[in-house]
Assembly symmetry: C2
Homo-oligomer: 148 residues x 2
DNA sequence: CGTACTCCTTCAAGTAACTTTAGGTTCAAG
DNA sequence: CTTGAACCTAAAGTTACTTGAAGGAGTACG
């Protein structure tokens, strides 16, 4: 039935997936994508399988999975067993990492917030001559800004 | 008065600041720290000024400022003007970045959460034979797992 | 004074995941 | 057939360090 096999250039594939052309070549280089067949002139050609595979990779990367994790997920997606439990474990581990990073960033947000607030309160009128933020930062972990 | 100038080896400075010795050498190499005076045998020596400077750098890095931002902050800390407004602007810009990253991560957390939940619901009994997560991921941005 | 041990030295390469640059080739349109 | 966009390779750049190899310096003990 499907006599029409769509063929893409690397640029068309890039547009279709949102992955840049150098990145596509890079993925081929590191083995995430199979070596693409070439035209007589040496340019890469892709088909719908490649489109699916690269879309999958892009999704995984957007989820924040590392390249090595994507490799595992790709293998799972191709093997006949399609082990969902293993997939879930990888996702769960990643979720744990994301949550830890979230906590770190929330703490950082609060610290920066109070830092900026203190700057504004103490220096609302312009550059302060007696700003001691630097002394504070070189001395303690509290941070500080603009006199006292 | 202060005839006792404390002198540190690179290892002592590392312990005092929580920055590793290779990192201290790296900071010297990229100009964040001035070239350290050497002993007759060629080993680096540090004093309290270096301790203060490196502590400041460490604080900034813990705040998530990039090396180039730290460079600016260091310059500000040394110049006589100590422009607090400029300092605050740098911190504010950084805070904006942190908040954007937080939003991205929060979204990612929700997506991963629902991903894992769907895996668990559909595959509680063990590996699923009909897991279609991979089809889903190669086709749409929604993600999905384990048969419908 | 010798030896053992830790700490120090330089230089080079490795890490993650691409991006950028340089210099040249192919393809499709007019 | 010419033009210009899109393609090619290979290598270096990015961030902020970390790791490794091979060897020298400093100190405590006997």
């Amino acid at each position: 039935m499907n006599l029409h096999v769509r063929v893409f250039t690397i640029g068309a594939l890039a547009k279709a997936t949102g992955v840049t052309t150098p990145t596509i070549r890079y993925y081929e280089e590191i083995g995430l994508l199979p070596p693409a067949p070439r035209t007589a002139g040496g340019q890469r050609t892709y088909d719908d399988d490649d489109l699916g595979r690269l879309t999958f990779i892009k999704q995984c990367r957007d989820f924040g999975f590392g390249i090595d994790q994507v490799r595992v997920l790709l293998d799972l997606s191709i093997s006949s067993r399609r082990d969902c439990v293993e997939t879930r474990d990888i996702a769960q581990a990643h979720l744990d990492e994301v949550r830890q990073k979230l906590n770190e960033l929330r703490l950082l947000e609060r610290r920066l917030e109070s830092f900026v607030t203190r700057c504004n309160v103490a220096c609302a009128g312009g550059p302060g001559q007696d700003c001691v933020i630097f002394k504070d930062m070189a001395a303690s972990a509290k941070g500080g800004c603009c006199g006292q």
